[in-house]
């Protein structure tokens, strides 16, 4: 006879089996394969050679790898603060009980569900230096036209703008949910005490929103580290590797240069960074952040 605890145990395993099978097939096995291939020299057509950690050594000695890491970090630095700051402002504005406010909530979420590939093509036209709309706007304000995607540094700014546009809606909705879980009576009490609007935002909203903000920040960092589609469509990593973010660098090495071993090593490196951020989320997400 099974006791209650054992039955619970079996039940539990049965419940997590379906997702576990899916995770195993699509995540754990490919991860294991990537780790294995990262120790091989393999160009797809030839047979594999075991080379130990040579791929990792080559990676850390490669200037292109460090360039990609730098570009990825710049992309993260460019997208994370702006997209979260903007999302916070928009969330506070959308957190009103006005008639028809849900229309604006839907509007702000639209970019999130738009296909990135399609959006990137449209942005490519907007960024076009001669006939593009963005340069037209600049000229209205009397500013000189920019080269956008044709310049090494401006191209990164351009893809950062697209990244922000794409993610700000997602961040807004999460922050909005966080805002709505703050009890109204804190504000009522503050109002009775004569606090100003700004004081309420600083002393009530921001502290009580910190757990949600932290979550959004980590998710945004991870999403920014994984940026790929907009780069493929808009710049192909160029000009002169100016937007060659790590996932694109990895893709190019794997599927254009057919250096599977080396690309897997880069993939493992990228995985490690993202994993560290996930751990941070787990560890500090619970402790350091203020819950009501």
């Amino acid at each position: 006879m099974l006791n209650k605890k054992q039955i619970d145990n079996i039940e539990g395993w049965l419940f997590i089996t379906p997702p576990l099978i899916i995770f195993t097939i699509f995540i754990f096995i490919p991860m294991g394969v990537a780790l294995f291939i990262s120790l091989q020299k393999w160009n797809l057509l030839s047979s594999m050679h075991f080379v130990g950690i040579a791929n990792y050594k080559k990676m850390f000695l490669s200037g292109h790898f460090w360039n990609s890491l730098l570009v990825s970090l710049l992309y993260v630095l460019g997208t994370v603060p702006v997209s979260i700051g903007l999302a916070l402002i928009i969330a506070i504005m959308l957190n009103q009980s006005l008639h028809g406010i849900s229309f604006f909530r839907i509007m702000i979420y639209l970019p999130v569900i738009t296909s990135m590939a399609a959006a990137a093509i449209v942005f490519q036209y907007l960024f076009e230096p001669n006939i593009g709309y963005f340069n037209h706007i600049l000229s209205v304000f009397g500013l000189p036209p920019l080269q956008w995607l044709n310049d090494r540094h401006q191209a990164l700014i351009a893809v950062i703008i697209v990244g922000i546009w794409k993610r700000v809606g997602y961040n807004t909705i999460i922050l909005l949910a966080g805002l709505q879980s703050i009890p109204r009576y804190y504000y009522e009490a503050a109002m009775i005490d004569g606090a100003s609007r700004m004081q309420m935002v600083r002393k009530i909203t921001i502290p009580l929103l910190s757990s949600v903000t932290f979550f959004v920040t980590v998710m945004q960092i991870i999403a920014s580290l994984k940026v790929f589609t907009s780069i493929v469509v808009m710049t192909e990593g160029g000009p002169a590797r100016g937007t060659d973010v790590l996932p694109y660098y990895l893709y190019k090495n794997a599927f254009q240069y057919h250096k599977m071993g080396y690309a897997s090593a880069v993939a493992i490196f990228l995985f490690t960074i993202i994993f560290i951020f996930t751990l941070l989320q787990f560890k500090f997400g619970e402790k350091k952040v203020h819950y009501q």
């Binding site: 096995i29 047979s47 001669n130 044709n150 000009p239 002169a240 254009q256």
Partner: protein, 419 residues
């Protein structure tokens, strides 16, 4: 830990199975006894795919043993990537179109069926009817691996309206880079948004440029990279000067095409096959001139050939050969060329009344044939996509970032490691 060991073992076993290759077969041109369906993968989009699909339809209707399916696989690079993946999965199509410079890894890893034995066995097929400058593009280690489909060379497209506006005679096109510089300067003087020439770093264009200045990307045996040679540094320096002087614009891709169509570019080198594009997209008076500027008259062979893949059955290969023969026969070459502007590769097709009529009525089609004697084949080294990226990146840095041509020394040593 045990689990991990198991997974690793599993992978090792699979990889052992993968590595089994396929041997050479001798060809016998027997008749097919059972119906066969074969696929041909191609990279020609938009208006270029329609004539090809027409030929496939005609072929399927002409007999009942073989059904050919044409599959569009995206651009040249995408097709190559997909083909490689299909080949590794042991399910390649039997025929595929590959761009001139993307064949290296397939040849190096013995993934293609040489066509010699089919040609020898087939009495109705005369390889001597093909232009030898064109078939050299599909010849590696003295063996013919593919037959031409969309072959082109880069020609110089001229905006004749801009020539006139700048006080130039549009019939007097430049024949050297110095002349090109002077012509481009006069055109760019028309205004700040007008450029004398549009340059860009597409592999086959810069390969032509290097040859014209007397340089080559590799030594004869493809064992050493020579992009840091005096000649190539001079070539890059010359283009950089044109951009610095404001007479050339360095712009590739879609934005480049947009510029060509909007009439702000005096000259641009593009594929023979772009004649159809110019006819559709351009409203100004345009002309075509040879792109044999420079000390050496040289243009690279562009476009693609159709290759036969290994890991397919003898029946499929036989069916593929029959289709290949049909696709490249005189009549279909004429049909293809008339509808696309690409070159015919058979002498009999070139001399046909249809093609002769076009060449006489519109001499712009002639230029590419005339300069064919100066055509050279693209390099077929295995790591070409990565090497091309290194060269293109160096070029962009030199022209746009103001770096010295001496960064080519670093590029050459990076490339040497890949050879």
């Amino acid at each position: 830990m045990k689990k991990l060991t198991f997974i690793v073992m599993l992978i090792m076993v699979t990889s052992l199975v993968w590595s089994g290759g396929s041997g050479e077969k001798t060809v016998q041109l027997t008749e097919l006894t059972e119906p066969v369906t074969i696929q041909v993968w191609y990279s020609l989009g938009a208006k270029y795919s329609a004539p090809l699909e027409d030929i496939i339809k005609k072929f399927n209707a002409s007999q009942d043993m073989i059904t050919v399916e044409g599959v569009y696989q995206g651009g040249y690079a995408t097709t190559q990537e997909k083909l490689l993946a299909a080949y590794i999965a042991d399910e390649p199509p039997v025929l595929a179109q590959l761009e001139q410079s993307l064949v290296g890894s397939f040849v190096a890893n013995d993934a293609l069926v040489p066509l010699e034995s089919f040609i020898k066995a087939d009495k109705d097929f005369d390889i001597k009817d093909f232009n030898k400058y064109i078939t050299q593009g599909a010849t590696y280690n003295k063996k013919l691996y593919g037959l031409p489909i969309n072959v082109s060379t880069p020609v110089l497209y001229l905006n004749r309206d801009l020539f006139r506006k700048a006080g130039l005679d549009p019939d007097k096109y430049p024949t050297t880079w110095d002349e090109a510089y002077n012509v481009a300067k006069k055109i760019s003087d028309l205004g700040p948004d007008v450029y004398g020439i549009r340059i860009y770093n597409s592999g086959w264009i810069i390969d032509s440029l290097f040859h014209q200045f007397g340089g080559t990307i590799f030594n004869k045996d493809n064992t050493k990279c020579l992009v840091n040679s005096k000649e190539i540094k001079e070539a890059m320096g010359f283009w950089k000067k044109m951009v610095d002087d404001g007479i050339a614009v360095y712009q590739g891709g879609k934005d480049g095409s947009t510029m060509d169509a909007s009439g702000v570019v005096g000259m641009v080198m593009r594929s023979t096959g772009s004649i159809a594009w110019f006819k559709d997209n351009v409203t100004f008076d345009w002309g075509v001139a040879p792109f044999t500027l420079g000390k050496q008259k040289a243009v690279s062979l562009g476009g693609g050939n159709i290759y036969m893949l290994k890991k397919t059955t003898p029946e499929e290969q036989l069916a593929a050969w029959k289709f290949l023969k049909y696709l490249t026969n005189t009549e279909n070459q004429i049909y293809w060329s008339v509808n696309t502007g690409y070159m015919v590769s058979r002498k009999s097709a070139k001399e046909s009344p249809e093609i002769q009529k076009i060449l006489q009525e519109d001499p712009r089609y002639n230029v590419t044939y005339d300069q064919l004697v100066h055509a050279f084949s693209r390099p077929t080294v295995e790591n070409w996509p990565e090497i091309e990226d290194i060269i293109q990146e160096a070029m962009t840095r030199i022209i746009l970032e103001g770096e010295s041509v001496d960064i080519l020394d670093q590029a050459a040593s990076d490339i040497d490691e890949l050879l």
